[in-house]
Amino acid sequence: MKKQCISCGMPLEKLEDYPLSDTTKDYCVHCARSDGSMKSYEEALEGMTGFMVKTQGIDKNVARGMAATMMAKMPAWRDRQ
């Protein structure tokens, strides 16, 4: 079974995809803080929103809504109330 980040869905394939190259983690380097711990929902949401804005120039509020829609399906956040 292919491993995917539980927070954003990014495929975890290479060592560089993991936080601090730790392959026991089930989240990606982008969803981790600098100490290797997983970002909070708000931090991850902010990160994904910024990613869409920087790569496609999408309006920030629209990007935030899209990021929230995607994250609602992710194992780390789908049971979040």
Partner: protein
């Protein structure tokens, strides 16, 4: 993994492959889950044993396209391939799913928030990879300095125009097969300093 798990995964893949073909033929909006079940030779209920909602199925189909596209581009960028090769790889990844992708572009604004967000997420990952190749060449001075969103949107706007109007540019055949090479050449000329 038990035999049952293997069977379950195989059925899930079969549903995705069938949906992918039907979405390409009839559009995402024009394909009902009952049509997918019939074409896949399974009961309508089986679809929902694998996907909680139709929306989840559509997102998984788009995810299948996105995963292969991102992987292919990622491999090229990782090998420090020049931007024009990365663009060709991007077109190759779309060509493999051209009918589906065209329907996604045409129907995009009408699709559900989840479907739309999934596609936007894929496009951001592709933009990130194109940007990695482009930044190297900007640094070397072989292409102009252009902000990443515009660099990506200019490229995607060009290819989407040809895909949406493929009946004008390449009736009955792949528009990317017919015009892809010239589009890459033209785009690279636009970027020349």
């Amino acid at each position: 993994m038990t035999q049952r798990d293997v069977q379950k995964q195989e059925t899930r893949r079969h549903i995705i492959r069938t949906a992918l073909l039907l979405f390409g033929e009839n559009g995402i909006l024009g394909t009902r889950t009952i049509d997918i079940a019939r074409a896949a030779g399974i009961s309508h209920g089986s679809i929902f044993a694998h996907f909680p909602t139709r929306d989840d199925l559509v997102a998984s189909v788009i995810g299948t396209f996105g995963e292969q596209a991102i992987r292919r581009i990622h491999d090229h960028v990782g090998r420090n391939a020049p931007l024009h090769e990365v663009l060709e790889t991007h077109l190759d990844s779309i060509k493999e799913y051209e009918a589906l992708y065209t329907k996604l572009v045409v129907e995009g604004p009408l699709l559900s928030p989840l479907t739309r967000s999934t596609l936007v997420g894929i496009q951001s990952a592709i933009s990130l990879h194109l940007a990695r190749a482009a930044r190297r060449e900007m640094h070397e001075g072989t292409i102009k300095h252009i902000e990443i969103p515009l660099l990506f949107n200019t490229w995607i706007g060009l290819i989407h125009h040809y895909l949406i109007n493929s009946d004008l540019f390449a009736p009955g055949e792949s528009v990317l097969e017919k015009h892809g090479r010239i589009l890459v050449e033209h785009y690279m000329e636009l970027l020349a300093p």
